[in-house]
């Protein structure tokens, strides 16, 4: 992974990319590039993700049955794979999100204890 970027970016924690992908797909089916763009946009370009690492993440989620995919034609009439959330994925997203919230607040409490 490259370092020395001018603008400061934060490396993603291991496995969190999967969670972000699920969250993005909650809004509706999307193709790979669109998912990546959505993550970058909604994190205000703070998160530093190599776009290539999206694909292993997508396939991990397919294998676990959390997302599915269909072939479709996009806006500019190009064939593309559209990934969508499965009901199982939707449930998993809820679980992971609440886990994440707990983790984040726990870490926050440790770092900035309320006196």
């Amino acid at each position: 992974m490259s370092t020395g970027e001018v603008r400061e970016r934060i490396e993603l924690l291991q496995g969190t990319l999967d969670l972000l992908v699920l969250r993005t797909l909650l809004l509706g089916p999307a193709h790979g590039h669109a998912i990546m763009k959505a993550i970058e946009r909604s994190s205000d370009d703070v998160l530093k993700v190599e776009q290539g690492s999206l694909y292993p993440a997508l396939h991990r989620l397919i294998k676990r049955g959390l997302i599915g995919f269909d072939h479709g034609t996009s806006d500019n009439n190009r064939r593309a794979k559209y990934y969508r959330l499965t009901p199982k994925g939707r449930k998993q997203l809820a679980v992971e999100t609440s886990k994440w919230d707990k983790l984040a607040s726990a870490i926050a409490r440790v770092l900035r204890p309320v006196t």
Binding site: E50, Q51, S53, Y55, I62, K63
Partner: protein, 872 residues
């Protein structure tokens, strides 16, 4: 489970299918976005690629989600291995053929061992089935007398079933024809013990007569007509009801019939009920039924417990039935052990032998792989240099040898199939239960395990020499390869020497068997079996209860035989079918058990001429003897007359000549007609007119091929009385060869193994020498440039080969001397350390080694020194 796996594979294929297209699409979109932001197409492209990161890595990581890394690498190794096999077809073919031979022979022998020694008998609770016998001290006769059987059946607590049976030939009328059939006559308990559940009808009810047909007999002689069940069929001239037909797969597994019974082992045609008769009133000639006996132990009881109980019951037999039923020894063994008998030892020896063949094959393959390993050092070094780990290289070597072994093993299973089919066809009766041999799951698992073990053993050697080589050395200077593989050459020499040593063991084993075989066949059998045709018949039916009718029939038979075309001499003999105690006049009076016993045959005048029997002293029997006379064999004279002249001695037998003494008029050489490798037993002959034949062997010396002469002669003899079938038609020398079928089986297999070993050793030495010559081409060039003559070079190379051979042969001879004692019991009239055999084997191997080293040596010497010097 496999369904889930299949789903996963389908999902994987679908998901990975257009990964490339997906990524391309992603990059194009990113590029388009960049252009929208005002970049030039080139910049846009570069930025997109940068944002994406390594495409190769992304793809690899994605694939890794679905396919474990090790699997991917394995597939790479397999592809690489396949490429290696294709690139070196001759090498690969030799390796695979060697492995196919080794694995195939081993699998074939294991299949036989599996069928005969490992697989249980096909009876219910086979592990509790026992065989019970009461052996007589002097003879080999082990049958149980009916009083014992009855007492055990009624009183024994340690057995939950007991049955007597007898295997014999009987005459059955199937409508158009009278057939001599192989029959098991069995008492009530048999059906349950054997697990006989008829496919049609039932088994006979207790105490009733009845026939249960085998499926094959039912199909052949009753054309599969179910109407036969319930019909009465003439059996030995007496109508007997067919009560059932057994299912096709039913096979009865019983010990082979005793040799003296004259009954050949083979498939049983039908079964019939036998009803135990109590013995007649005590007297000198009481008839008593004899049985072979099988029983089923109650669960958890030991053989010793059963032995003690049965022995205790027998103690009362004498009280109940009189003095002639004095108990004999009691023997009780597991039925499976009794059936296998002496074959166990020879099978274990054969298994050990075939493992040696496999080891030789492994040594050969390891040798070949080592040779290739050293030519591949550069390749390995380069691959290591570009980052392949050593363990990865080891794994690749193992995968390669596993692939060779898998192909070799598959071919080996085919080899085994062919070998087994051949064996069962050629010598079906050589080993009990041999016909049951099939390649079941256990055999296939065995073949697979052997293949994998072989691959590991063969693949490890080159892998380790690779492990030791230094990348730096190999890459620095390719010409130093020869010295870098000095260790590998040493390993190869050791392997070749070991191969030779193992070959010595096999060749000596086969040699000793061959010598035994020669000793048996060169030993005069006491007669001349060539061009002699034999046929058998057995009296049956009410007409032949009268002895006068029997004698009239024999007269007619002899007349016809003598008149038959091509017959030079003809005679009959009852073929030693009864064993009797005899009284020699003037001998001290001893209890019945201690009296001499002999095999008794009734014969005709022409019999001696027909089989070429040698009269040693006195004369042979004539057909018109006014009073009974006897001829004895040398064994009887030796055993019971201790140096006295037998001629003129008077002997008495229970049923000859109204129990009066009759004179001995001649002595004949010992005969070994029933079993070539058995010791001669005392025998007594008398003329058929004064005897009482039960069955006869007709022997005819014919002009020309006895097999061709047989059919018309048989038809002619059968015409003497159509109700008396003539059977077992075969040339005497064939019958004799059949009698030593187990020896021929051992010889055939060991010979095959020894031959394979010799060929493999030859290939091994040749390959090793040829390789070392190729490695030393440069050195040879230097020597010749410095003035060495061609013959010096040849001598040097041959010397190298012969020192290895000498070491191997010497080690082999030393090892074999220690081993052959294990096969002493399989030999006949040859010591296990027979010097002639050892010398021949050592000589043969030395000559083989010489021949194998000369070829490459001469080729090496013919190299042009200039070319050799340039050779790097």
């Amino acid at each position: 489970m496999s369904g889930v796996l299949l789903d996963l594979i389908r999902m994987k294929r679908k998901a990975l299918d257009d990964l490339d297209a997906d990524i391309r699409d992603h990059l194009e979109r990113e590029m388009a976005d960049n252009i929208d932001r005002g970049m030039t197409p080139d910049d846009a492209r570069a930025a997109a690629l940068k944002r994406f990161g390594s495409i190769a890595l992304a793809k690899e990581d994605t694939r890794a989600v679905w396919i474990p890394v090790w699997f991917d690498q394995l597939m790479q190794d397999v592809r690489y291995g396949l490429r290696m096999i294709r690139r070196t077809p001759a090498f690969s073919a030799v390796v695979m053929l060697t492995l196919a031979l080794g694995i195939g022979l081993t699998t074939a022998v294991f299949s036989v061992v599996n069928a005969v020694l490992v697989r249980p008998l096909s009876y219910p609770n086979a592990d509790r089935l026992v065989w019970i016998a009461t052996p007589e001290e002097r003879s080999n006769e082990e049958l149980v007398m009916s009083p014992d059987l009855m007492a055990w059946r009624d009183q024994a607590q340690s057995l939950d079933r007991l049955a007597g049976f007898f295997i014999g030939g009987e005459r059955i009328d199937v409508g158009d024809e009278v057939v001599q059939a192989r029959v098991v006559a069995a008492t009530d308990g048999f059906w349950d013990l054997a697990g006989a559940r008829p496919a049609l009808g039932t088994v006979p009810r207790p105490g009733e007569q009845g026939i249960v047909l085998s499926h094959a007999f039912f199909e052949r002689w009753f054309r599969g007509d179910p109407g036969v069940v319930g019909r009465a069929v003439p059996l030995n001239g007496r109508p007997t009801a067919v009560t059932g037909v057994l299912p096709p797969g039913f096979r009865v597994q019983l010990p082979p019939p005793p040799a003296w019974s004259g009954v050949q082992s083979g498939e049983v045609d039908f079964y019939r009920a036998s009803i135990i008769q109590p013995p007649g009133p005590p007297g000198p000639a009481t008839a008593v039924q004899l049985f072979e006996v099988i029983g089923r132990l109650k669960p958890g009881l030991s053989l010793a417990r059963a032995h003690d109980e049965l022995d205790a019951i027998r103690a009362n037999t004498e009280k109940a039935f009189g003095a002639q039923f004095r108990p004999r020894r009691l023997r009780i063994v597991l039925l499976a052990d009794k059936i296998v008998g002496g074959a166990r030892r020879s099978l274990i020896v054969l298994l050990a032998a075939v493992v040696l063949v496999l080891l030789i094959a492994c040594a050969n393959v390891a040798n070949l792989l080592l040779a290739r390993g050293s030519t591949r050092q550069r390749e390995v070094a380069i691959r290591t240099a570009v980052g392949a780990g050593r363990s990865r290289m080891l794994r690749q070597f193992l995968v390669e040898s596993l692939m060779l072994a898998a192909i070799g093993g598959t071919a080996g299973v085919l080899v085994a199939r062919l070998a087994l089919a051949g064996l069962v066809r050629v010598l079906p009766e050589a080993v009990p239960r041999l016909v049951e041999t099939t390649m079941d799951a256990r055999v296939l698992a065995f073949a697979a395990a052997v293949s994998v073990a072989t691959a590991i053993v063969c693949g490890l050697a080159p892998a380790f020499t690779v492990r030791k080589t230094s990348v730096h050395d190999v890459l620095k200077d390719g010409a130093r390869m020869a010295s870098a593989s000095a260790g590998s050459l040493r390993a190869r020499k050791t392997l070749v020497a070991a191969e030779l040593a193992l070959s010595v063991v096999l060749l000596v084993g086969a040699g000793l068997m061959l010598r035994s075989f020669w000793r048996i066949t060169e030993n005069p059998a006491g007669f001349a079996p060539e061009r002699v045709l034999t046929m058998r018949m057995q009296f049956s039916g009410p007409r032949y209860r009268e002895n006068t009718n029997r004698i009239a029939y024999v007269d007619e038979l002899l007349q016809r035989a003598r008149r038959a075309p091509g017959v030079e001499a003809a005679g009959v003999s009852s073929s030693a079918d009864s064993r009797m105690r005899l009284d020699i006049e003037g001998a001290p009076d001893v209890p019945r058990e201690a009296r001499p016993s002999a095999l008794v045959s009734v014969v005709s005048d022409g019999y001696a001429d027909a089989i070429g029997m040698r009269v040693v002293k006195g004369r042979w029997i004539r057909d018109d003897e006014p009073a009974p006379v006897f001829v004895m064999n040398e064994a009887l004279a030796r055993q019971y007359l201790a140096g006295q002249d037998p001629i003129g001695k008077r002997v008495r037998l229970p049923w000859v000549g109204n129990q009066s003494f009759a004179t001995v008029v001649g002595v004949v050489a010992d005969l070994r007609y029933s079993k070539l490798d058995a010791r001669s037993e005392p025998e007594l002959f008398t003329d058929y007119r004064h005897g009482r034949p039960f069955g006869l062997t007709v022997a005819m010396r014919v002009a020309g091929d006895p097999t061709k002469a047989a059919p018309p002669i048989r038809a002619l003899l059968a015409g003497a009385d159509r109700t008396q079938p003539i059977f077992d038609v075969k040339p005497l020398d064939v019958a004799l060869a059949d009698s030593i079928a187990p020896r021929r089986f051992n010889l055939l297999l060991l010979g095959m193994f020894a031959g394979s070993a010799l060929v493999l050793a030859l290939v091994g030495i040749y390959g090793m020498i040829a390789y070392s010559v190729a490695q030393r081409t440069h050195e040879i060039g230097v020597r010749m440039a410095l003035g060495a003559e061609r013959h010096d070079v040849v001598r040097m190379i041959v010397w190298q080969g012969m020192t290895i051979a000498a070491a191997g042969i010497a080690a082999g001879v030393a090892g074999t001397l220690a081993l052959t004692r294990a096969i002493a019991s399989l030999l006949y009239d040859v010591t296990p350390t027979d010097p002639l055999t050892f010398a021949t084997v050592a000589g043969t191997l030395a000559v083989t080694a010489l021949a194998a080293s000369c070829g490459p040596a001469i080729k090496g010497a013919l190299v042009d020194p200039i070319v050799a010097l340039r050779c790097e």
